[in-house]
Point group: C2
Chain length 333, copies 2
């Protein structure tokens, strides 16, 4: 295992320290329990938004803490859910009187721990709404998930809900917008290589030199099928077809198209994927009015990509466009 780390045990805390050293104007790190909050926490006159999950998916979630997006993020150990006490303490630290929205990726550990944290926050008299993101069309039920997994739509939900909260919407309204993003968003991914969890020290799975895993999960969970490596255009078709047919997206729909890198994929390749994905969307009569291309929800150094599509309406587009200032996403300010 070759990694730029000091030890698997200290990796997450040292990365948090590095984040805080680099972005102290935007975020503040708390340790034991570990969480990251906006530098100006608690949220003033607005709904507070909290997310979190296993580390190894950076910039998700800590890189999305800041004005116009998340108020707090709880990093677990790599590919391991954070604990309820992290979420509870983070929730208290960011709550500014208008309630807390929990955005939860659908993994059994995350869901269970966030539910416990929600109960603890409610017991303190804090209003809480929880939304579980389950946008991955690849498989129903998975290694660590009952139902569909939560993947790329999480990034979009965090941005759009952040915009809605900044605009002063109520907890119920922001939560409903989050549910809408989840209802109108779909994703699927592919892996060309595995990744190595630091405290395990060897690749999560074996993938022969000429094979790919279609429908991979962000922790290396098995997808739909293994197959020989295909040209990028063919791979893009195999990702786009299940996405488009799932809701289904209909001719005339306005969409946001998000091509995500898994961590070890060059940007050059992501643009090759985007080129074909946009052409497929267009051929289906979809109007791609917004997009995002880059590595935003990763699986350590895994090579691969995922595509997320989100149907937009005036509300979702407005809050996507709203100003954001976080370590990993920034525009309008």
């Amino acid at each position: 295992m070759k990694k730029l780390i000091n030890s698997p045990e200290n990796l997450v805390v040292e990365a948090m320290e590095g984040m805080e050293a680099a972005h102290g104007d935007l975020i503040k790190a708390h340790y034991n329990p570990n969480f990251i909050v906006r530098a100006d926490a608690p949220a003033k006159g607005k709904v507070a938004i909290l997310s979190g999950g296993g580390s190894g998916h950076e910039p998700l979630h800590g890189g999305f803490v800041g004005a116009g997006m998340l108020d707090g993020a709880c990093p677990g150990a790599v590919f391991t859910s954070p604990t309820p006490d992290q979420m509870y303490e983070a929730g208290k630290a960011i709550h500014g009187g208008k309630g807390v929205l929990l955005i939860i990726k659908n993994y059994t550990g995350d869901v269970m721990n966030f539910e416990l944290a929600a109960d603890l926050l409610k017991a303190d008299g804090i209003e809480v709404e929880s939304v579980v993101i389950d946008d991955d069309v690849a498989v129903k039920d998975s290694t660590w998930t009952a139902g569909r997994r939560g993947v790329g739509a999480t990034v979009l939900a965090e941005k759009i809900c952040g915009g809605a909260a900044a605009a002063g919407l109520s907890l119920k309204e922001v939560a409903d917008i989050c549910r809408k993003v989840n209802a109108e968003g779909r994703s699927m991914g592919v892996a060309l290589t595995s990744c190595t969890v630091p405290h395990v020290g060897k690749p999560t799975f074996d993938l022969p030199e000429d094979e790919i895993e279609m429908g991979i999960g962000i922790h290396g969970e098995p997808g739909r099928t293994r197959m020989k490596l295909q040209p990028a255009d063919k791979i893009t078709e195999m990702l786009m077809d299940p996405i488009i047919t799932d809701i289904p997206y209909k001719s005339g729909d306005e969409v946001l198209l998000f091509v995500n890198g898994m961590g070890g994929t060059p940007l050059l390749e992501l643009y090759v994927i985007y080129r074909k994905a946009a052409a497929i969307a267009k051929a289906h009569g979809l109007k791609v009015s917004r997009n995002l291309v880059g590595s935003y929800i990763t699986s350590l150094e895994m090579a691969g990509t995922s595509i997320t599509m989100l149907k937009l309406d005036d509300t979702l587009r407005k809050f996507w466009d709203a100003p954001v200032k976080t370590p990993a996403l920034r525009w309008g300010v």
Copy 2:
């Protein structure tokens, strides 16, 4: 070789098509010869800035085309200099009457071809200034370079010169600022793995599973030494020490600290490197007032990192902070 491509021959053009599809509001692609320009080219009432080089280092350079940074970028084949006709046509397309600054990384092919292009542009009556970036302290002379290689300071020069040009400075003034960035900036990198050039089909070099290459070049050129894998803090020391002692940076200096990923390195690890690099800078009495952390000048899927430090003054800081709106860097707008 496992890559998300259709064919090595079409990779660069297809990635350009993807970039244009995603960022048509910011950039426009021209083909045969290949170059990318700002959507609102030619430059109006300002100096035009052109850069370029082999592909495989994305987002450098095409991802930095846009308001407040580059006016044009010429992508060569992967790790291969663009040709003089690309640079000449791009220079003509962006020139708006106030001259063209060429920002050139110090590789023999790039320097020769940009010189030819400069002659062609001058023959057309266009005023041209050229600045060669050679900030890599690792080695003197390299596989494709006489003198030091041009690496991370290129990103900073493109941003700062873009800010200066947008502020209306003259060609001579913008070029002098570029020379200052090069004079006050130093870099060094390390590789944990090689990368595979698509049209070659096998890794550029072999690196045993427990070894790293200190002082690596961005095309996999040999560095100073091979050694066993070390803890991240030790690696960071080995990168920072030659940088700090080269100019040397002195106690009290204000600096920008840039921790760059080579393409296949998780952000989590880059923050571990940043943490230690910032601590080392502080221990030397340096004031880190600005920073950049992410994969901005890459070597395809190579795992590794480079550190760049730039001494700031009021002018460089002001133009670093100036608004920028490109596919890969954006703030203030």
